[in-house]
């Protein structure tokens, strides 16, 4: 099932057109998206490093979570809101972007990692939170988070490049499949 008709419909809505063609709104939303990186990813990185036992080892994990968790969550909300607006402005290109798909899938994995942490080792944080180096399960969650958000940031940045865009054929079949490009079969290598 392809969502292409849905994103094409979205692209034709007045709000999407207005945002896409705006002189200031689109760059402002994009700037907010990039700069909130400092709040969300920046503090999330510090949290991951604490879980790995690399920084702020004298600060109990539960205190770190209580004091900086709201900032990380707030940053995430702004990230998602501005991200959805950016998608809303350019739905077809985003939908058919290999990088956007990679980014979206990695965000799902990062969410899954946070969920596993929350449902698992985080339940006993009061017991191990004062240890300079947290238990293995917590360190693994931190390490996975660092890797996943790095992939999200890099693939997000790459959306701007048109190397794999559907209108820039020829691509290999695998690129066209992953990006969801519809190309007549006879021309494909």
């Amino acid at each position: 099932m392809s969502l292409l008709p849905s994103v094409q419909w979205l692209a034709a809505t007045p709000g999407s057109i207005t945002l896409r063609e705006s002189w200031y709104a689109y760059p402002l939303v994009e700037s907010a998206h990039v700069l909130t990186l400092c709040v969300f990813v920046g503090l999330a990185v510090m949290w991951d490093l604490r879980l790995l036992g690399i920084t702020l080892t004298s600060v109990p994990c539960s205190e770190f979570k209580r004091r900086l968790g709201p900032w990380i969550k707030g940053g995430f909300v702004v990230m998602m809101t501005t991200g959805v607006l950016l998608f809303y402005a350019t739905p077809v290109r985003s939908y058919q972007s290999l990088w956007f798909r990679m980014k979206a899938a990695t965000i799902v994995l990062a969410g899954l990692n946070a969920f596993v942490f929350h449902r698992g080792i985080d339940r006993t944080i009061e017991q191990w939170g004062r240890d300079p180096v947290p238990p293995r399960a917590a360190r693994l969650a931190g390490a996975r988070s660092l890797v996943l958000w790095t992939v999200v940031v890099v693939s997000g940045r790459m959306i701007a490049y048109n190397w794999f865009d559907c209108d820039k054929q020829p691509h290999s079949r695998i690129v066209n499949t992953l990006a969801g490009c519809s190309v007549p079969d006879e021309g494909a290598p």
């Binding site: 700069l35 510090m46 940031v153």
Partner: protein, 159 residues
């Protein structure tokens, strides 16, 4: 040698040539620049939030400052190295961009402020500096770094 001819010279150096001719070098270096932005943001925020009485407010200010410092310095170094490379790929465009000059001025002020007043105030210890001055320092720091980030993003829009 004026600035424009300096930019001209940079664009003709082997590094400038390689950066502007490679189809992927700019994208890769820019990604590293962006990742370092996240880290520098985290390091700056941790201390500035603390100075504002937010974030890690159960911890002494100087401890937060000491923990954040190595991350600030190392990410700043990555920022500067990748930033110079990005600049070398299009120095003339940067020279003509208002956003670039806003960014460079803010960067210079932000670095001077971070390593003089801000470090001094943060390491002074509780009670030595009036709370209102701690807040002023944090607001100045956040404003300057915001100028660096926003100016940086805007270089790309002023093509």
């Amino acid at each position: 040698m004026n600035l424009l001819s300096f930019c001209q010279w940079v664009s003709e150096t082997p590094v400038g040539q390689a950066m502007s001719q490679s189809p992927w070098a700019f994208a890769v270096i820019e990604s590293v620049h962006l990742l370092a932005l996240a880290v520098i943001g985290g390091a700056v925020l941790m201390l500035d939030l603390r100075l504002l009485g937010l974030g890690l407010r159960d911890q002494p200010i100087d401890r937060v400052a000491r923990e954040a410092h190595p991350w600030l310095v190392s990410s700043l170094l990555v920022m500067l190295v990748t930033g110079v490379l990005l600049f070398s790929s299009e120095p003339i465009k940067c020279y003509q961009s208002t956003a670039f000059w806003v960014k460079m001025s803010s960067l210079l002020l932000a670095m001077i402020f971070a390593f003089t007043v801000r470090t001094k105030v943060a390491l002074a210890g509780e009670g030595r500096v009036k709370p209102v001055w701690l807040k002023v320092v944090a607001v100045v720091s956040l404003t300057l770094w915001f100028g660096v980030g926003a100016g940086g993003r805007w270089i790309g829009f002023s093509a």
